[in-house]
Symmetry: C7
Subunit: 94 residues, 7 copies
């Protein structure tokens, strides 16, 4: 991906709950109620505080939970992403 976020920003891609299992069964209802999961696609260099870069806590590939109303939706090369500040990332799901 060719988006390089500035400061403490992170580019994420929303994860759709897989609604079809490998065997082809379509899952509905509760299984889809996970709107806040996303995958980290790009990580900024970190904010500058008192002249020093603050190291980022997430890395590309992390699966994360984020604040529902945080960030800005952007569309680059036909793909939809969300750019938010790391502070709007709640937790890493392992």
């Amino acid at each position: 991906m060719n988006i390089r976020p500035l400061g403490d920003r992170v580019v994420i891609k929303k994860l759709e709950a897989e609604s079809t299992t490998k065997s082809g069964i379509v899952l509905t209802g509760t299984a889809k109620e996970q709107p806040q999961e996303a995958k980290v696609m790009a990580v900024g260099p970190g904010a500058v505080v008192d002249g020093k870069r603050v190291e980022m806590d997430v890395k590309v590939g992390d699966k994360i939970l984020y604040s529902k109303y945080a960030g800005t939706d952007v569309k680059v090369a036909g793909e939809e992403y969300i750019i938010l500040r790391q502070d709007d990332i709640l937790a890493i799901v392992e």
Copy 2:
């Protein structure tokens, strides 16, 4: 549990007031009016202030009281949790 909160965030699980006693008697009314108790499930590494991690005051397993409207509800693997900042935790109940 596989959620790793960032910064000074804490993952908690709401405690339902036990409405049934060991002997099977169903309690109602006042006994259930404790909506703000929760158990700490995961604790972040602490916020970074002036380049240093601030140690967290709660630990996994603590029973806590929290601000009713604080935090974000998340659902991971079918379980409901709340992720909030430690500052929204009012007190530890011992």
Copy 3:
């Protein structure tokens, strides 16, 4: 009492104006207009500012005046308390 407040928080218990005197006379009106008096039940360790704990100004047992709309009502073991930040305590009544 088994509530341990975090940071600069204080647990207080509202003082009802004693509406009955020792001799049994029921007082009404003005004598009851003191909704902001409370007794300190538990005191947090103090906020951490620049890595150091700031010592608290109130102690358990102090009778205090507090901002009417400050704090959070909690109910622990059937008893009602208010948890507020020390900054919402206006004065100590001696």
Copy 4:
């Protein structure tokens, strides 16, 4: 008076414009339009900034002008006072 304000707070007592002169003449109208004058009854120890107490600028007995909507009305032992932060005191009238 037995109220000891915390931090940079001050306890004041509103001054009613004397509506009767020594000779007994009742003054009305403009002579009463001074709702913001008060007398300082008690002074807190001062706010703590970076670990040091900031000395207070007013002292008990000062006659002051204050911001009309500042502070909290309290009633102690039947007397009405206002508790406000020193920053809400505009000036000392000499």
Copy 5:
């Protein structure tokens, strides 16, 4: 005048545009549209920042322009004044 402002506050007195010239001609309209001019009557000792007084930029007698909605109107000894923070003074007119 006997008002001593606190901190970085300044006591000013609104200047009415002189509507009569020396020769007795009454000016009207545009000549009166100067509602923001005032004269400095008293100057506070300056705000305390990091334990040091910040020197004030205006002095008694300065003619100034101020933000229309800034400050508090007070009436002392029958005279009307405005008490505002120096930061609400826009400029000195020379």
Copy 6:
């Protein structure tokens, strides 16, 4: 001009788009759509941060672009000016 702005304030004079060319042709429409251009008439000494004056970036005579709703309109000696903080100046036009 006899206005001396305080702190980081700047006195500017709105530039009317010249609606008449040298040859006397009256321009209309788009040519007049430049409401945010102004000329710097006076510059304050700069804000004081941590006891030191911060040097100003604009100087008298600069043609600037400013935030449309920033600043205060003042009228001195029949002339209209705007007093705003330097931070509300967007750019210098060269």
Copy 7:
């Protein structure tokens, strides 16, 4: 271009999605849904924090994504630009 932004401001020019391909085919719909892309036209010297200039992260020519409602529209010499703070730039598109 002759606009020199102050502090941490950046002058950008909105990029219209090219709606006509080289072969002359007019693209419609999704291909035009990229309202937040712009090209950096001029970069300020950087904000001053504690007496030191903070170096800017973008440079003239960068293609960037920006917050939709950020910045101020200006028109210089018939051309439309947006002046915004670097903090309102989300990412650089490479």
